[in-house]
């Protein structure tokens, strides 16, 4: 799919904004998780885990999906392609994996919010290292994706190594 240059730049800008925004949102979640683990104030701790669920739906999930969609548009509308270069392929896999884990993890946010909302639940039950662990792992994965996007390390996939004419002639899978 060939898009005009201005549309490609718009898609790329949207992809950068969404991806970097996702990274920042994960960093904010890591800070929240640290507060939840270390704060001596019970209300603050409960508030942290209560806020995580809506914040995830309002920030993390939209940014993750926006990053995925704009990334697909950017790659498919440019000469890089989606499956031709390893760095693009790895970014796609990282994005898909992180988005899938995030969508599954929203259930965990819901469960943690339910515990935090229960005033009879002990604070040790409310405190949970899981968000911090997941935020660190997500941060690592998204940093790898960012480094790949900036450095664009060399390497063509087997599909990318085939001559362009052969790729055009080959039947769709």
């Amino acid at each position: 799919v060939v898009l005009p240059a201005q549309w490609r730049k718009l898609a790329l800008t949207a992809h950068v904004v969404a991806s970097v925004g996702w990274l920042g949102a994960v960093l904010a979640f890591l800070a929240l998780a640290a507060v939840g683990l270390t704060s001596p104030d019970p209300q603050t701790v409960r508030g942290v885990y209560l806020a995580m669920e809506p914040a995830a739906w309002l920030a993390l999930v939209p940014l993750a999906i926006a990053s995925l969609v704009t990334g697909l548009v950017s790659s498919l509308s440019s000469v890089w392609g989606l499956f031709l270069h390893y760095w693009v392929l790895f970014k796609l896999l990282i994005n898909l994996f992180a988005t899938a884990v995030l969508l599954i993890y929203t259930e965990t946010f819901r469960a943690m919010a339910a515990v935090a909302a229960d005033s009879s639940a002990d604070l040790t039950l409310v405190r949970n290292p899981s968000p911090a662990l997941h935020a660190v792992l997500a941060l690592g994965a998204l940093l790898v994706a960012t480094v790949l996007a900036v450095y664009k390390p060399r390497g063509l996939t087997p599909l990318g190594q085939r001559p362009r004419s052969a790729r055009r002639l080959s039947p769709p899978p």
Partner: protein
């Protein structure tokens, strides 16, 4: 076999056309025709280790998911009942 390593000049820098291609954000028309780059193998190995570690932890009985974060049956949870 031609690899990128052969395209690096003596002082360790990429040829000018490669540098220009990289800074302009467009792929070079001359792609590698050799094997899989080392960085791809490293990242693939890390991904495999993560997946295997996750599967092993599941097989070992380590709980994952929201059930792990819910209070045990002995704990009173008024929100869940509401």
């Amino acid at each position: 076999m031609i690899t990128y390593r052969h395209r690096v000049s003596i002082n360790g820098t990429l040829p000018l056309e490669d540098q220009m291609s990289r800074t302009s954000g467009t792929p070079n028309s001359e792609g590698p025709t050799g094997g899989t780059p080392t960085w791809v193998k490293v990242l693939a190995l890390i991904a495999i280790v993560v997946v295997v570690a996750f599967i092993v932890s599941l097989l070992a009985g380590v709980q994952h998911g929201p059930a792990l974060h819910e209070p045990s049956s002995g704990t009173v949870c008024t929100v869940a009942a509401a």
